[in-house]
């Protein structure tokens, strides 16, 4: 199919060019398309977009060159072209005058089209940049993220990589290069002020994986990636510019990160960013190539696979290695557990899919919505132009009678519509540009590569044919209608006593189609709106209002484990004493802050057989009053008291999800468990609390395991230096912030307060994707409803105008006005119902794609469909009642005169 499209587009090239190379180009295209198809569907779409844009460009350039060459040669053909051009200019001038005479009509038509084209261009540009454009790395289709699934732990993915697997994978010829990667944070001191920064840890091999190099200096050398290797750091271009004044002389100097000296060895290029990781600087990811530990999961990794390798084939090779892990790590019981109880399975994911996957669905929904708006706009314009064409029947008939051929008359109408399309397209581009700037500036959603979004050649290449096709779509109908019966029109002055049945049928089809499209978008908007409302009112399992949250990170060099816990307790005491603060608590990770630490635990009731693993949970270290402060409900037993906080008796609190998953048949209170590998001591469950979401309010709750701050076992698996604080405040949580800063500074001025914000903002951010889609689809739906109703009103009014005489006769023969208006409303109702039926079918077909964006509502929710259908019917009937009641007031005398 692509090949046929390419063949058609080839006709745009000048004939001479086509004759010489057309067949060759088709052949080349077919072979390259086959290459692209092998790389996947996304690759093929991208290839096609680029090829078509390239051909369009070549055609334009070649045609211009050809004309210039011909003109230079003064060939006779030149005059012919000139003659056609002159005729065209004449039509265009004529059309321009015609449009200028009816400014209201022109403005309505251009604006309708500009809005629709603007919306389409903006969303397409977004899609092109975010979803279709390759990552900014050479051969990015060969970059994969190596994740693992663990069916034995009920995990379909998200296990990440382990050091042991890395040791083995790196030897595989199918993997050209591979690097462990991870996001981290650190306090960097350059000069005298400490700055809390985001960092990325990566291996010396990362530059080979990505195919990039630092802009200045160098990347990590092999020995710098070994544990205990030299401490070095590479800066991002932004940090180098911001904090080091873009001074090349800083290379080779030393900066302190978390108190440790690091040699500054390089600066990355300005346009470099690793997808999904915001990094101000880069440090080596230490890895011991001789490691004898098979497990240690949860690490990120990225690999470049060999050319021709597919993810399926790679997964098969990796799974062979996993099956052999017990032999490769003979001393490690976890190697056997990975195969037998965890049932580890390799899950290579293309980097592109990882980056754009979650938002691709949302953007495609938006593309669909704006495309529907464009269709409605075209239907509306076709209508407008039909009315205009019919109003001019006399003019056309006169032209015909004077000998104008139908090509000439058609050309006249086409010139007008193309002019409107051109103006609409240009204005649409301007609107798209403005819209995108707004979107980039205020986007509530983190879209990958959003900062690179701008109107470019590809957007223009998309808009031009869009406007042209739209122009032809609504321009064609009047052209077809221009074959009027000259004799009839001139004779009875355009006042046919019966409205042409064909004329009315075309309009009714347009009207039904508009309403059907509007129905589709309204259903989508309705479903999203209800999801948004339920998300807002959904109980996240904790209180978000009137709560301030922030993070404190203590340097490990100055705060050994004990001192860190003591500092955190002192900080809590100080914060509780502040005016406006009603309560203060802390946890290593708060709800909705993502995976803090997910780890393996074992239950005493089910003794492990040789390294078997039987449970995974989110580990949290919390202060005594954490649950009351967050208003996380206690379900059974009790929560920590002050005595527990000192770690006495090893108490733990679990949540309902953990209780359900691992203690389905017994009373969990009093049961014993332990974090695997951290301690030999058993911990006793003292209470069960309600579940907390990890990433999004909508998700099903994950098991949580809570330890008191000073628990020794917790100290071994969880960071004791990082804590998230939550304060209960008055109505404006940010009002207490200055006091909080002073209180912390009084304890230690070098500890920065990290990301203070309202808890409610954190909650709002996690629902942002649904909100964002809802707002944009809502705008599209509102536009479609407005255009659809205007269209329906116009069609019915026009129908009434055509039937003036008939209505006059009916009234003269004794029909009551109510009968007349009733008849018109009934007839409109039939068309509207048709539109709604088709709209329902279309909406049912399309709503499935929304599924992942919906919350607490089914894509085929009958009530939503019924309400939208009833609403559309009501509004449609109202739109027909207005012209109908006007028709009933027609004076029979006047209409029959």
């Amino acid at each position: 199919m692509l090949e046929r499209a390419f063949g058609l587009l080839l006709r745009l090239l000048p004939a001479a060019f086509r004759e010489e190379f057309g067949a060759l180009m088709r052949r080349t295209f077919a072979m390259r398309a086959a290459d692209a198809a092998r790389r996947g569907r996304l690759s093929l779409v991208r290839f096609a977009a680029r090829e078509f844009a390239g051909l369009l460009r070549a055609a334009i350039v070649e045609r211009i060159t050809e004309r210039a060459e011909r003109r230079a040669r003064h060939s006779p053909a030149h005059h012919e072209v000139r003659g056609v051009m002159d005729a065209m200019m004449k039509e265009l001038r004529h059309a321009l005058r015609g449009l200028a005479r009816t400014p209201g009509f022109t403005a309505a038509a251009v604006l309708t089209l500009a809005l629709a084209i603007g919306a389409n261009t903006a969303i397409f540009t977004l899609l092109n940049r975010v979803v279709l454009s390759p990552l900014p790395f050479p051969h990015s289709d060969r970059l994969v993220v190596l994740d693992h699934a663990a069916p034995g732990l009920n995990m379909a993915g998200g296990m990440g990589m382990s050091g042991g697997l890395f040791r083995e994978y790196v030897k595989l010829p199918a993997i050209e290069a591979i690097s462990l990667v991870g996001g981290t944070e650190g306090t960097l001191i350059a000069g005298d002020s400490p700055e809390r920064l985001q960092a990325m840890a990566a291996m010396p091999s990362l530059t080979d994986v990505l195919g990039i190099a630092p802009a200045r200096g160098r990347w990590f050398a092999a020995e710098e990636g070994l544990p205990g290797g030299p401490s070095v750091v590479v800066l991002s271009h932004a940090l180098w510019t911001r904090s080091f004044g873009a001074d090349p002389a800083v290379l080779g100097t030393t900066v302190r990160i978390n108190g440790m000296p690091h040699e500054l060895i390089g600066v990355m290029p300005a346009d470099f960013s690793f997808p999904g990781v915001r990094a101000d600087y880069f440090i080596p990811f230490p890895h011991d190539p001789e490691t004898t530990r098979a497990a240690g999961f949860g690490r990120g990794s990225i690999a470049r696979i060999a050319p021709g390798m597919t993810t399926d084939a790679l997964a098969a090779q990796l799974n062979t290695i996993i099956a052999d892990m017990p032999n490769r790590f003979p001393g490690d019981a976890m190697a056997r557990a990975m195969v037998e109880s965890v049932q580890l399975a390799a899950l290579p994911i293309p980097l592109e899919q990882q980056v754009v996957g979650p938002v691709a669905r949302m953007l495609w929904v938006l593309v669909g919505s704006v495309a529907v708006v464009l269709l409605i706009a075209c239907a509306n314009l076709a209508n407008l132009f039909l009315v205009r064409a019919e109003a001019r029947q006399r003019e056309v008939a006169v032209r015909r009678a004077l000998g104008a051929g139908s090509r000439r008359v058609g050309g006249f109408f086409l010139a007008e519509t193309l002019l409107v399309a051109l103006l609409g397209g240009v204005l649409g581009l301007v609107l798209a540009h403005a819209g995108l700037q707004l979107l980039v500036a205020y986007s509530p959603v983190e879209l990958p590569r959003l900062n690179e979004v701008r109107i470019d050649a590809v957007s223009v290449a998309w808009t031009v044919p869009l406007a042209a096709i739209a122009g032809c779509a609504f321009g064609l109908l009047p052209v077809l209608r221009s074959r009027v019966d000259v004799f009839n029109v001139l004779q009875d002055g355009g006042r046919g006593s019966t409205a042409g049945a064909g004329r009315m049928r075309a309009r009714n089809v347009l009207m039904a189609a508009q309403l059907a499209f509007a129905m589709m978008l309204l259903v989508a908007a309705g479903l999203l709106l209800q999801s948004f409302l339920s998300l807002r009112t959904a109980d996240p399992g904790f209180a978000g209002e009137s709560r301030l949250i922030f993070q404190l990170a203590l340097p490990a060099t100055e705060y050994p484990d004990e001192a860190a816990a003591a500092f955190q307790e002192r900080a809590l005491d100080a914060l509780r004493g502040l005016p406006g603060v009603r309560a203060a608590a802390l946890s290593t990770t708060l709800p909705l802050q993502g995976d803090g630490r997910r780890d393996v635990l074992q239950l005493r009731a089910w003794p492990l057989v040789d390294g078997e693993v039987n449970a995974v949970a989110q580990f949290r270290r919390v202060s005594a009053n954490y649950f009351e402060t967050m208003r996380i409900a206690l379900v059974q037993g009790r929560v920590f008291d002050e005595r527990d906080m000192q770690g006495a008796g090893n108490p733990v609190v679990i949540d309902e999800a953990l209780a359900r998953a691992y203690f389905p048949d017994v009373d969990p209170i009093g049961q014993q468990l332990q974090p695997v590998g951290a301690t030999d001591e058993w911990h006793t469950v003292i209470g069960i609390v309600a579940g907390s979401p990890v990433n999004e309010v909508r998700e099903s709750p994950a098991p949580h395991l809570y330890f008191p701050i000073r628990s020794e076992a917790a100290g071994r698996t969880l960071s004791v230096h990082l804590a998230n604080f939550v304060l209960v405040t008055g109505d404006d949580p940010l009002a207490v912030l200055p006091g909080v800063r002073r209180a912390i500074a009084a304890l230690d001025a070098t500890v920065p307060l990290i990301r203070p914000e309202r808890m409610s903002d954190l909650i709002a951010r996690t629902g942002a994707r649904t909100t964002f889609t809802m707002v944009l689809v809502g705008i599209a739906a509102a536009m479609s409803l407005l255009l659809g109703i205007i269209g329906a009103y116009a069609v019915i009014s026009y129908g009434v105008a055509l039937r003036r005489d008939e209505i006059g006769v009916r009234l003269a023969l004794g029909a009551r006005p109510a009968d007349v208006s009733g008849m018109i409303v009934r007839q409109s109702a039939a068309v509207i119902t048709c539109g709604i039926i088709f709209g329902t079918v279309a909406a049912l077909a399309g709503a499935r794609t929304l599924e992942s964006l919906l919350f607490d509502i089914a894509w085929n929710d009958a009530i939503t469909y019924a309400i939208v259908a009833a609403g559309l019917l009501a509004v449609g009937l109202l739109a027909s009642w207005v012209p109908a009641s006007r028709a009933a007031r027609v004076s029979p005398l006047e209409s029959l005169r």
């Binding site: 052949r27 080349t28 390259r32 055609a59 195919g211």
Partner: protein, 116 residues
């Protein structure tokens, strides 16, 4: 080769030079030219079919390339025509590469390129 400087070859664009280099290995067809360029540049230069043939056409018009029959041994396919360098094309490539070489030498001399 000094006398050839009289008919100075036309200026070459980046893509033009890339194409001539691809054809330099022997007679090839359009697909192989595109593939060769894409592979050599690691995907950094990957012309669309339209752009590729635009430049091919210009190179033929300037007499740097010519159509030839399929080389012996290749499957003879009537639809597939091969491109080959003309003598003029060969001179153009070597002139362009010589020009780049002088620039590289100059860059080295002034310490702007290459290390010790």
């Amino acid at each position: 080769m000094t006398s050839e400087s009289q008919t100075s070859p036309p200026a070459l664009t980046e893509l033009g030079l890339q194409i001539l280099l691809a054809v330099g290995r022997g007679a090839v067809h359009g697909y192989a030219i595109g593939r060769d360029i894409e592979d050599r540049t690691g995907g950094r230069t990957d012309p669309s079919t339209g752009a590729l043939y635009q430049v091919l056409k210009r190179l033929m018009r300037d007499g740097l390339l010519e159509h030839v029959d399929a080389p012996a041994g290749e499957r003879d396919d009537a639809r597939r025509r091969y491109f080959a360098l003309t003598a003029h094309g060969r001179r153009a490539v070597s002139a362009e590469l010589a020009r780049l070489e002088t620039l590289v030498a100059l860059g080295r001399e002034r310490g702007l390129y290459g290390g010790a």
